[in-house]
């Protein structure tokens, strides 16, 4: 059943997309910072997982926490040492700075890792199973599950944990964050670090189901925007909705219009949402 | 096209105006007439819908139902800038100067784009300077607008609205936070504006000032018009007294 296959592909893709966008949506929604280097963080996470796999034989799903921890540190330092100094500057300054970071990271990746395509291929990569006439690759399914797990964990963290609640308070206003006993600079750095960590995790999953090059950053950043906006920034679970919508749109778009139109579909959808309902599907209308 | 000037004819009329947001009713079935050259006061407890009414008249918001007529012509569908061209000017309660511009430039905008605008920059700047003199800011023309203190900001708001050469001027709490001397100055200023031919709607909490200024008073509570008449009549009305003293917090 072709439609069922396409539907399944779309859903699996959508789940992955959700975690890809998660870090960007968090940082944007809470700190009002649009991180144009988000895709580069994903790319770095992917390469880190790749080298842990080829060098130490670590299965990517096992190295996931390590990669996330490493990327957390990277993100934390960038916010603490650089971005915190620009928070009150006009909006496009932040966009430019993060773009600069993206350029630097992409260049370094190209220098260190070369432009060759790389995929993380553990033993189970490439094996599928059949369910209701639909072929499901194991790797994609596992990636989907982990993606949902990470999203759920973040939602819980923001709701229950003290630091998570402080981060949400920071989104409201800085004084509220201070009341929670968390100094704003720390709250900002913590949030950005978590965003980077999530990007790193997404990169690991991405490295398993797709191909890594130093240049995957920009398209992934663009997709993350689309997902964050479609889903709405007010609710962290919005990325699930956004991811699924985009995944399904791309899958069916490929089917009906042809694969070359895939980008046009996702971008057209984004433009439409921005014009018609900028706060996104789960967002509050002001 | 226009009503005879200063004849006391009706310049503005609200007919059964209602504004609803979701479940909340901000303005409910309000009707009144505002004669040309009249100073109409609008009072009421906080949250009564006064600023919303001004927003509806200036075009910042549209009513859910009802009609607003300026010079006999309906305002529905006209964006704020068109209403400014017709001669409706307003001040904002939370003042909104153009932050990066000088005091003079702030007012020049009104002179360039209001009713009977100046088209050339130098002439517009001159007109702006004149209005700033009128409101007492003549010595602060080149200062950055966001460097002004509270009372001066209000004068700036006033000058900006005046530069539009409004026929109807909507003043939203211009006296908040002023001391007694400053209040008297503003009352005098408003009187002189009316003497120049402008019709004025004043929202105010300072009862002494509103009593001195207003030809007539309107009282709003919970979005409804509960009293209308001269200051003496209205301020003695038991409903009005209860609205202020017996008011409960939303």
């Amino acid at each position: 059943m072709l439609v069922l296959q396409v539907l399944t592909n779309g859903i699996l893709l959508g789940g992955l997309y959700a975690v890809v966008a998660l870090g960007l949506a968090l940082v944007w929604g809470v700190l009002d910072i649009i991180n144009l280097a988000h895709g580069a963080f994903i790319m770095l996470g992917g390469y880190l997982a790749y080298y842990l796999f080829t060098g130490l034989g670590l299965d990517p799903f096992a190295s996931l926490p390590l990669v996330m921890a490493a990327m957390f540190v990277v993100g934390y330092l960038i916010q603490w040492g650089l971005l915190n100094f620009l928070v009150r500057a006009p909006m496009f300054n932040m966009l430019l700075v993060t773009f600069g970071i993206d350029v630097v990271l992409t260049y370094l990746a190209q220098l260190l890792f070369s432009a060759d395509l790389r995929t993380i291929r553990p033993a189970y990569a490439g094996s599928n199973f059949q369910f209701l006439g639909v072929t499901i690759p194991w790797a994609n399914l596992m990636a989907f599950v982990v993606a949902m797990l990470l999203t759920g964990l973040l939602a819980l963290f923001l709701k229950r944990q003290r630091w998570g609640r402080a981060i949400r308070a920071t989104a409201q206003n800085l004084d509220a964050a201070r009341l929670h006993g968390v100094p704003p600079r720390f709250a900002y750095a913590l949030t950005f670090g978590i965003g980077a960590a999530l990007a790193g995790g997404a990169g690991t999953l991405y490295g398993v189901v797709a191909q890594l090059t130093p240049y995957v950053g920009v398209p992934l950043t663009a997709k993350s925007f689309a997902i964050a906006i479609i889903g709405g920034l007010d609710n962290p679970l919005g990325v699930i909705v956004g991811g699924l919508v985009l995944g399904l749109a791309e899958a069916f778009g490929s089917l009906w219009l042809g694969p070359t139109y895939r980008d046009a579909v996702s971008l057209g959808l984004l433009v439409l949402v921005l014009i018609v309902r900028p706060t996104g599907i789960l967002g509050r209308t002001t | 096209m226009t009503a005879p000037a200063g004849s006391g004819g009706v310049l503005f009329e609200a007919r059964r105006v209602t504004k609803r947001y979701g479940g909340l009713v901000a303005v409910s079935d309000v009707s009144f007439r505002h004669a040309e050259g009249e100073i109409l006061g609008l009072i009421g407890p906080n949250g009564a819908g006064k600023t919303t009414l001004i927003n509806l008249i200036s075009g910042t918001q549209e009513p859910t139902s009802g009609a607003l007529l300026f010079d006999g012509r309906p305002l529905r569908g006209l964006p704020p800038y068109r209403r400014a061209h017709l001669g409706i000017g307003r001040t904002f309660q939370i003042m909104k100067p153009f932050p990066g511009l000088s005091v003079l430039d702030n007012v020049t905008a009104g002179a360039l784009f209001g009713r009977q605008p100046e088209r050339a920059m130098p002439a517009a700047r001159e007109a702006a300077a004149h209005w700033l003199e009128f409101t007492g800011l003549g010595d602060k023309l080149d200062q950055p607008a966001d460097a002004l203190g509270g009372p001066d900001r209000k004068r700036l708001e006033l000058a900006k609205a005046l530069a539009l050469k409004p026929r109807l001027l909507l003043l939203d709490e211009v006296m908040a936070g002023l001391n007694a001397v400053e209040i008297d100055e503003v009352v005098d200023l408003i009187r002189r504006i009316r003497d120049g031919g402008t019709t004025i709607l004043v929202i105010e909490h300072v009862v002494k000032a509103i009593r001195q200024l207003s030809d007539r008073l309107l009282v709003l509570q919970y979005g409804q018009l509960i009293a209308e008449g001269t200051a003496e009549d209205v301020l003695d009305d038991p409903k009005v007294i209860e609205a202020y003293l017996g008011r409960r917090r939303h």
Binding site: I34, L82, V97, G100, V103, Y107, D263 | L101, L112
Partner: protein, 315 residues
């Protein structure tokens, strides 16, 4: 004072115009690229610097101008000047029509929408047969860079004069008021929607003409290079670094940053993009209001200027 500025400006333009006749072809080529970037920076200055709508997708107008000119010349065998007119027409039409919904958005949302729009158009163009799909188009060859250089210089002058006019006219004043506080501008009688859309159209016009000139000069275009996203950032950083909202700032920013990039590239090959990234970061941190602002204030404040800026923008 006024007369002196005009004399200096004329002298500068004359000096620049003489470059193809006095300096090496390599410099002429560098000149053309830089001049076209300066046009893009000025175009962005109109919508981003003056009107306050930081568009991240002006590359779409550049791309439409590129393709409009190319398609006119390659598929319909029309002369260059007509191709330019068509390219500009397509871009301005696009700006006016799509400007209406898109300019209703503010801040980040506007920036993202313009970026997405330019990517979407690029993706669509890459699928059109008349545009040569992904392979692109090859334009007729014409030898001699001098014509392109003088054309580009002329366009920079035109764009800068337009911005000068904006800084003095009623229309430009309206745009600045919109940037400062749009809702206050509206109640003061400024037709905000009309003005914003016109500003957008002006930006489109200059960007498209730059694209058309570039297309004929380079003779080969494809979707990736015509709708190159990095152009957006480059034009913005040049305008912002030079001074957004000023008349000459974007041009100075374009020349300075291009010059720096060239010099670095010739000393340390291959690392140009790395340094470009670092330069952007440094520029944004230390001179967020642009070089012109720094030049004006450094003499008085000295190095304290940088401390002040950082203090104002830090968390």
């Amino acid at each position: 004072m006024r007369a002196l500025v005009w004399v200096l400006a004329l002298a500068a333009v004359a000096a620049l115009a003489l470059v193809p006749f006095t300096l090496s072809p390599v410099i002429v080529q560098f000149g053309i690229s830089t001049l076209l970037l300066a046009v893009l920076a000025q175009g962005w200055n109109i919508i981003g610097g003056f009107t306050g709508y930081a568009s991240f997708g002006n590359s779409v107008f550049y791309g439409l101008g590129t393709y409009g000119t190319a398609v006119a010349m390659v598929q319909f065998k029309l002369p260059f000047w007509l191709g330019l007119v068509i390219g500009a027409g397509v871009a301005v039409g696009f700006a006016l029509v799509l400007g209406l919904p898109v300019l209703r958005l503010r801040g980040h949302y506007f920036a993202i929408t313009t970026l997405a729009l330019s990517e979407a158009v690029a993706a669509i163009v890459a699928n059109l047969d008349i545009a040569g799909r992904n392979t692109g188009l090859i334009l007729p060859l014409i030898r001699g860079d001098t014509m392109f250089y003088e054309l580009s210089l002329g366009l920079v002058v035109l764009a800068t004069l337009t911005v000068l006019w904006l800084s003095r006219s009623r229309f430009g004043f309206g745009l600045i008021a919109i940037r400062e506080r749009e809702d206050a501008a509206e109640v003061m009688g400024i037709p905000t929607t009309l003005y914003k859309t016109l500003a957008f159209g002006l930006a489109a016009l200059f960007s498209a003409l730059a694209g058309g000139i570039h297309a004929y000069w380079i003779t080969f275009i494809d979707p990736a290079s015509a709708f190159d996203i990095s152009l957006n950032v480059r034009m913005i950083i040049m305008a912002v670094f030079g001074g957004a909202g000023t008349v000459i700032g974007p041009v100075i920013g374009a020349f300075l940053l291009s010059g720096v990039a060239e010099v670095l590239a010739s000393y340390v090959t291959g690392v140009a993009s790395l340094f470009f990234g670092l330069v952007i970061i440094a520029a944004v941190v230390f001179t967020p209001r642009g070089v012109i602002d720094a030049v004006r204030k450094l003499p008085r404040r000295g190095l304290a200027y940088f401390l002040d800026t950082v203090r104002e923008t830090r968390l």
